[in-house]
Symmetry: C2
Subunit: 329 residues, 2 copies
């Protein structure tokens, strides 16, 4: 008799945490969401995460021991050998042994991975990546995350996750970055960088539309606010966003020159709000800056799975890692 398998995927973000329970075919069985409130400290956040996982299981009338495995995406680099979160700036975490903590509580095989790797893998398996031989995921948001799935595997370093495209140098001697250096792509092309430029324009009186919608507080200048202003004909905002998208495109072209991916998937809040603008600018930059024989080959696409990319990817990676061992459950 075949035993049913269940996989749980978690996307632990700086703002909210999402847990989704899947069956063996990755059909959604239960879903729960909760605020992260990282300022409460690592211990409180991990307790909240454990409760969220338990509630998600209860919603489907399952016990932890019926789970074949868990996959958890986290917003920062991970030690790939032991599932320790090396750093998660938005959560204030440093060297947190999250895999060990969750395995201690639930006693199930647990995979901790970078959230962008999880999202890229999700798009590769179930979304815009179409199971291509080499796909790159790029997710501009508050920061800029990147991931690569090559021949079905997440591309990672020997010790840690990688593909830190947000910290590739984009503008020599450019703006200060959260990482302590200057001119990183993220410092010039993230939603936060765009919001800073736009706030200056509002302050100068150059963007009356956005003055109405948001004002000069960066926290109020969200992806959708930018999209609204552009839709209302605000050329100053549009120019600022297009420049940021173009810088992302130039960095994408470098990645195309290096890795010759089959598909580049663009996702995250900015792309969801301004899909056509991002596709146009990144495609144009790739044609302009990648070697013709590589640039012609790559398909630049919008992500398809939205908020579910990372939970699907994390759960599917858990299946890939633990699928065989899980037979004994």
């Amino acid at each position: 008799m075949a035993v049913s398998k269940y996989w749980l995927g978690v996307d632990l973000g700086g703002t909210k945490m999402l847990a989704v329970l899947f069956d063996a075919d990755f059909k959604l069985l239960a879903e729960r969401k909760e605020k992260t409130n990282g300022q409460d400290g690592a211990k409180a956040v991990v307790e909240r995460l454990k409760s969220l996982i338990s509630e998600t299981l209860r919603e489907a009338d399952l016990r932890p021991r019926q789970l074949s495995g868990l996959g958890v995406g986290v917003p920062g680099p991970v030690n790939v050998k032991n599932g320790t979160v090396l750093a998660a700036p938005n959560l204030g975490w440093h060297n947190l042994p999250l895999q060990k903590m969750l395995e201690h509580t639930f006693n199930r095989p647990t995979l901790v991975i970078n959230d962008v790797d999880a999202g890229t893998y999700g798009e590769f398996r179930f979304g815009a990546g179409e199971k291509a031989r080499c796909i790159i995921g790029l997710f501009p948001g508050t920061g800029i995350g990147g991931g690569c799935v090559y021949e079905g595997q997440i591309f990672s370093g020997s010790e840690s996750t990688c593909f830190e495209i947000g910290h590739v140098l984009a503008v020599p001697d450019g703006r200060p970055c959260g990482c302590g250096r200057y001119g990183c792509l993220e410092a010039h092309a993230s939603r936060l960088a765009i919001a800073a430029d736009v706030a200056v324009a509002v302050y100068r009186g150059q963007s009356p539309v956005l003055r109405e919608l948001a004002g000069t507080d960066l926290r109020d200048i969200k992806s959708r606010t930018l999209a609204k202003a552009i839709a209302a004909g605000d050329r100053v905002v549009e120019d600022i966003v297009r420049r940021a998208a173009r810088l992302l495109g130039v960095a994408t072209a470098s990645v195309v020159n290096l890795l010759a991916p089959d598909v580049v998937v663009l996702g995250g809040g900015l792309v969801e709000a301004l899909e056509q603008l991002y596709l146009d600018e990144v495609r144009a930059a790739v044609l302009l800056h990648a070697m013709p024989f590589l640039g012609r080959h790559v398909k630049v696409r919008a992500a398809k799975l939205g908020d579910h990319a990372a939970v699907l990817g994390a759960a599917a990676l858990a299946e890939k890692s633990f699928g065989r061992k899980a037979r004994r459950t």
Copy 2:
């Protein structure tokens, strides 16, 4: 009874072609060299290559049918599916079906690969790469070539070779590149770019040492000439070379941020002539521009195999591809 295996590696360069015959343990059995003279046209060069291969075999008293396979490194991108050379600017080649041509003549399994991929694989197997999980080879010369060996395999695109680090954008709106675009790393940091800057300095009278050694003709300003001028205390030349090495280092840091390699191997004429300068500048740039948790991990090393890297790599890749099939010989 075990049948002896022999592998032949060829490095077909813009200036010279080198063929080396190896035994099953990659011990050198015979070696022949010849000028390429690309201006004679593709047909003449391929005939010369065939003669070179035949002579190398004769030198060891072998017949073609005793060869287990051939590996040929070529200076340009290759269609990885059928061994067609997509382009070799230094030879004036376009879409040349070299694999088919050589298999037609010798009737032995033949692998055609990019020369830098071959060199990187050679260093991975027998040199400075130490069989690391992920190694990057960077070869600044007339152009700037790059290669990546990841988990024992050459990283390549679905259709063509890749890792075109020479054409990653280094200086926005920078100098014209041979590829038709502007600001590529190669246009600012290759030996040719350095020679152009140095020639201007000589013309201006800023570099009396190099005026003695070479003058203002780019063809006379070779890697060793630059090294001699620097050894003689020419600060203008040293500054120009250091700036080029630094740009290579910044591009290396981007690669480290993306791929978290274990080892970066620097090779080629410039590095052979100015090893310590290149190691210092690239290491410093990696520490400055790569994420600390990735930059600390990577080892930056000089190549060990010199001119033999590509022939060893090409022959070893032929063994990897044809090793099993070759049993029937």
